[in-house]
Structure formats: structure tokens, C-alpha cells
């Protein structure tokens, strides 16, 4: 079974600075998807960014980018120019491409605070 580990429960960043959130995973599969989700105090889970394992290029979405190291099974999220609205809980997640059910396996999450 796949596992996802987020070892840091909390992080803090100064507004306008850069922060990196860590995530590692374990799988025997070669093709899969990785995601970062954001959950603000409103509780609505929002997809931040996704990475397809067969693509070597790291995904980027505006101020959000990932460092995907397939051999090391590492998938970190970098947030540049941090804003107050980035304060939230962030979850790393894994999904297999095989099989019909497409269920996500989540890490335990990290709470990010942004200091003004």
C-alpha cells in the first residue's frame, strides 16, 4: 500500500518570503499522480498543484512550484512571495493511475502560518 509522509506539523513564513513544504511517499508503482491541496479555515479543500510521475519537468502554478524527485520519492511544494491568504493547512496526496477507483492517499498535513 502507498503511504504519504509529511513530517513537519507546522511551519511559519514571513510575508513576501519563500517557504518549502516537504512530502515523501512510498510506492512500488512507476506511474502515478501527486497533488498538493490547500485547506483554509473555510474548510474547502482546494487543489494547488499536481504532478504526473512520468513527466520529468516540475509543475508550476503561478507562485507555487514543486520539486519532484522520483528516485528519492520526494515531492516538496515551494511557495514564493508568500501572502497572508496562503495561511492554511496543506496536504500532500498520492493517486495511482491503475485501477478504476482512483482513491487518494493523504499525508497528515502541515499548518502554514504567514507573519505580516
Amino acid at each position: 500500500a502507498q503511504t504519504v509522509t509529511q513530517s513537519q506539523p507546522e511551519m511559519s513564513v514571513q510575508e513576501a518570503e519563500t517557504v518549502t513544504l516537504s512530502c515523501t511517499y512510498d510506492t512500488s508503482e512507476s506511474d502515478y499522480y501527486l497533488f498538493w491541496y490547500k485547506q483554509p479555515p473555510s474548510r474547502q479543500m482546494i487543489l494547488v498543484i499536481r504532478q504526473e510521475a512520468y513527466k520529468q519537468q516540475n509543475a508550476t502554478e503561478n507562485r507555487f512550484s514543486v520539486n519532484f524527485q522520483k528516485a528519492a520519492k520526494s515531492f516538496s511544494l515551494k511557495i514564493s512571495d508568500s501572502q497572508l491568504g496562503d495561511a492554511a493547512m496543506y496536504f500532500c496526496a498520492y493517486r495511482s493511475v491503475y485501477g478504476a477507483n482512483s482513491k487518494l492517499t493523504f499525508g497528515k498535513g502541515i499548518t502554514l502560518s504567514v507573519r505580516p
Binding site: 499522480y33 474548510r43 498535513g109
Partner: protein, 115 residues
């Protein structure tokens, strides 16, 4: 705007009550999921369904059941609510296989308190 709608945002129930949590999606997604979210434990899968009347157990199915009579609706049932089922419950849906490359669409959650 496509969405997943959970019927209640907050719910307070008594121990031993039968509790229904309802989830409806309007995206014609095949997959639907129920997770519970607890501090320090992340999101844990309770049940999921990939088709009408089909269901599969997730990681923590004990004390729960589900129903999917129509494609758009997936209900989570607590047969006899207990205090250890006090939690946040999140519903989600997705397309099958590689069509689900964008992951899930989530509801806004139901915070259930069992007293």
C-alpha cells in the same frame, strides 16, 4: 460552477442515534468518497464508490455504512453514533482512471459532534 454539496455544515447528534450525511455532485463523476478528518491524523478514507450500488471499504469502515442509489448522491450512515465518531467528514468525487488526473472535487465538510 460545478460542485460537491454536503447537506449540513454542522450537526449535533446524540449517542445511539442513526445519522445520515448526504453528499450530492453535479459533475457526472463516477467515483465518490467519504473521508473523516481529525487533527494530527489527516484525511482517512471511510468508504468509496465507483458506480451506482457499488461500494468499497476504505481504511476505517467500522461503524459506518454507505448508500449510492443514484450516480450523483452518496450517503454516509452512522448506524449508532458514538462519541468517537465526532469529527469532520469530507465528501469528494472524481472521474475514473486517467480522466481523474485533476484529483478530487471536495465538498465543504460536515462537522459532526456526537454528545
Amino acid at each position: 460552477d460545478v460542485k460537491v454539496t454536503q447537506s449540513s455544515r454542522y450537526l449535533v447528534k446524540r449517542t445511539g442515534e442513526k445519522v445520515f450525511l448526504e453528499c450530492v455532485q453535479d459533475m457526472d463523476h463516477e467515483n465518490m468518497f467519504w473521508y473523516r478528518q481529525d487533527p494530527g491524523l489527516g484525511l482517512r478514507l471511510i468508504y468509496f464508490s465507483y458506480d451506482v450500488k457499488m461500494k468499497e471499504k476504505g481504511d476505517i469502515p467500522e461503524g459506518y455504512s454507505v448508500s449510492r442509489e443514484k450516480k450523483e448522491r452518496f450517503s454516509l450512515i452512522l448506524e449508532s453514533a458514538s462519541t468517537n465518531q465526532t469529527s469532520m467528514y469530507l465528501c469528494a468525487s472524481s472521474l475514473l482512471g486517467r480522466q481523474g488526473v485533476n484529483g478530487y472535487t471536495f465538498g465543504s465538510g460536515t462537522r459532526l459532534t456526537v454528545v
